[in-house]
Symmetry: C2
Subunit: 241 residues, 2 copies
Amino acid sequence: MSHYQFKTAGPLPPPALAPNKVRLFQVDMNPYGHRVLLILDAKRAKYEVYEMDPLRLPEWFKANNRRCKIPVLEVHTDHADKCLFESVVICDYLDEKYTHNKLHSSDPFTKAQDRLLIERFNELIKGSLECFDTNFVFGGQQILQTLDIFEKELVTRGTNYFGGSRPGMLDYMIWPWVERLYLVRVVAEKKFDEKRGAYPNFADWADQMQLDEVVKKHARSPQEYLDYYKNARTLSMSYYL
Amino acid sequence: MSHYQFKTAGPLPPPALAPNKVRLFQVDMNPYGHRVLLILDAKRAKYEVYEMDPLRLPEWFKANNRRCKIPVLEVHTDHADKCLFESVVICDYLDEKYTHNKLHSSDPFTKAQDRLLIERFNELIKGSLECFDTNFVFGGQQILQTLDIFEKELVTRGTNYFGGSRPGMLDYMIWPWVERLYLVRVVAEKKFDEKRGAYPNFADWADQMQLDEVVKKHARSPQEYLDYYKNARTLSMSYYL
């Protein structure tokens, strides 16, 4: 049975937004939406979440979003309620819009470096997709090569988090996929713990991230992820990722 | 003969940067580097250009840039001279670093929209590459669909430029490929002028952009582009684009 069986959006769009609120159109368990949820809470934004079934997107949703991109952030503007796409663009927008808890570095060079690392992290995301397609050798290599870069980056920075003494934009942007990596531990505990030793700083970073209040609020257990991806694979729904 | 025959970089890297300067490693006629040149001048940054031959990149250049990305911006930091990649990241960095002539909108929502449009413009870039590969039908469609979106956006904004009353980040980010589109006029003048009529606001915008001092400084003629791409195709060097 699809994970989204009971999450059908209604035939009518939700009402207009209150001026001080934003609305996230999201698919449960989607890591890109997970990014936005982390930033919404890290910035203490007032928001509501509209859960979608990716298999049954309503017509009113598709009308303004022909490419059916998810997540979408609906924002109140002077003219109308308007939509933003792309998790990175949405999160940067939120960081600029809400002044509480600046997540990007105020140093333009560090900020640019962080943006390049967020882009570099896409190779770990691709690696995860390869693993989902049961190409474990190639996917695993992509994941480990990326972890190596982030391990070295933490050593170079000499800080607990990529953002310094607390999680910043780069920390939250990569977190959803790192949280999901722990599902490997459920099926191969020994192998996972061995690999952990090769990335000691990154492993410590991940341990600390799990204690962050914002991360905790949106966390799922490794077993939940495992069940979810098993189900998704049975149904051949790679876009669930 | 390769366009870059006489542009071999030396066996040694250039000297350390002066603290108030940046250095652009660039390949002549490369549109992504063209983007950075426009922003460097729009921001009145002090810079020097290091011209590379893409067929013969020196070892010292590849050592810090294993993926051989071009353009690269070298920046003086407190620790060392460091490199930034990706034209969009470099240009956003320059906009934040140099306060003269703010190019991104100060409104976070407009800035986010502009970033999405810069990304959407990639389809015109892909279309141009398809045309280079002589797939004119498919490539042409991608180009016209993108122009349609930008035409409508100008109408919605009701301004001369995407940035308002003067060129902003979005204007400069898309310009290099629009400047190159004029080469079509050299080979098919009537067809080009007919198509122009379908995008009247965009055509006016392009006419005005050509009068901008920054654009003029880095402009090449349609004939120059045509000769360059003919030569590149003869040599099967699609990465020249």
